[in-house]
Symmetry: C2
DNA sequence: CGCAATATTGACCACTCTCAATGAGGGTGG
DNA sequence: CCACCCTCATTGAGAGTGGTCAATATTGCG
């Protein structure tokens, strides 16, 4: 496997080899003893490879998963063989929260590139959280954040057009890389055009055309999975529809 | 105000005048003492009227809300005056879960018809849940359910066409009425066509045309806000796309 | 009673999808 | 090591779903 083109997050290992789960996903309000207790119940899995599944839809729910390195996509398979990509998960992000209610996973999770993932046995976690109020509260926050994020996606799918969706996607990735200490301007995509399109409710061809167009407009440079954002402000302008429509009026 | 046409859930009062919050939204695993403690911190608000807001986007988050009677819509206002409708909430449903993380509401909540709503002071609730493990676990489940629901909506907006979206919407409403003891075949919509369209990512005109078409096809009868589902199975068939495409092949 | 908001219907058109062909890698096996 | 294959990506042409605009009910409300 060629690390230069496919692996985009492998080197985060350097950044987080010394870190524990807390700095990844539960950063606030826990004292060191609590952190120790939490770390005791967490299992580190062996490295996973592209195409491996963390879990499949309708699997019994036993663990929450935290991406440590690499990236994971979650998707909901539907009857006719298709799927809806629900999210791409970078290091520090928690996977499996939608399974708590029914005790059964509602989506599948597939590894996009060589990745390391932690498993949190949920029943043990619940016991622990009942004795550590701040852990419990932090869990509420994480669940709440997931809801907020999904609601933003609802607005994206319900209201935005193709170019706005892709601009939003790229800016969101950029921001997430930045907050993980990577360049927000220069990164590799670990997912295919098809998966991006699926996630954004667009056809593959539309994604491809938009990349070409954005490049022609000097917003970014794209070469296969390698993306360089040249004009981030330009991408932001795409999201501010009003401003764009005013520009259009001036032209006409 | 004309109760016959606009008020669709007023009479649920009869059904739940004697019930408490527990049977509405936290039905499982709590013993009577815990229920008592929970009920102590819950405030019942005076009746609210069409157009009243429970909260506005960016308001400080203090309470979770439970619809007791009536119906409420949540929506995310965007810069240019538009909005994305995020959900329609019937009796027993919890509102405000997306605000926990940041302590500030991410969406607004507006009452669609005369309604009664309970307020749960979140900080008191958190304290209580830290002493009642089953309450805490139930809260995890409610948050998880919300995530699952939002993910289903993502699949709807990302993959389904207009008629599938409306069929899904009507069947979902029907199901929710049924589980609340109302007729799943005959009900009144408390939201406008515009709001339905907004929620489903479609234009008002498309909703209007689809209602007409569904009526012409004998699937339902519609007269303003009054809906009668005549052929529920037919609506289900719309959702099973494969079957429809097979039918199409037979015709061609 | 009259105005404003909501709903319906039609005509037109734009955005994005579908279908199809071609090209570019990357992996595998001879 | 190269040939082959398969997947992924790009690009073009045409079509269709659903949006926009506009006109006309219909209803609700002050």
């Amino acid at each position: 496997m060629n690390d230069r083109t496919v692996i985009s997050f492998e080197n985060i290992k350097i950044a987080c080899s010394g870190c524990n789960l807390v700095t990844l996903c539960l950063p606030m309000g826990l004292d060191p003893d609590d952190v120790e207790q939490l770390n005791k119940i967490i299992k580190r899995s062996r490295p996973l490879h592209r195409g491996d599944h963390l879990f499949m839809e309708s699997d019994r729910f036993n663990y929450l998963y935290v991406v440590k390195t690499g990236s994971v996509k979650t998707y909901a398979p539907n009857e006719d063989g298709g799927e809806q990509v629900l999210g791409f998960h970078l290091p520090g992000e928690l996977i499996g929260l939608d399974a708590i209610e029914e005790g059964r996973h509602h989506c599948s999770a597939k590894v996009l590139e060589t990745s390391a993932v932690c498993e949190i046995p949920f029943s043990q976690f619940v016991e622990l959280s009942s004795t550590i109020p701040s852990l419990q509260h932090q869990m509420y926050r994480l669940l709440s954040r997931e809801i907020s994020h999904d609601e933003e996606m609802l607005a994206l799918l319900g209201k935005k057009n193709a170019e706005e969706r892709l601009a939003d996607f790229l800016l969101s990735l950029s921001q997430r890389f930045k907050s993980r200490g990577f360049s927000p301007f220069d990164f590799y995509l670990s997912m295919s055009r098809h998966e991006i399109g699926n996630y954004l409710g667009l056809a593959v061809e539309t994604i491809s055309r938009l990349f070409t167009r954005f490049q022609d407009e000097g917003l970014l440079k794209v070469e296969r999975k390698h993306i360089q954002l040249v004009n981030i402000e330009g991408l932001h302008v795409i999201l501010r529809r009003e401003q764009r429509e005013e520009n259009r009026r001036q032209i006409t």
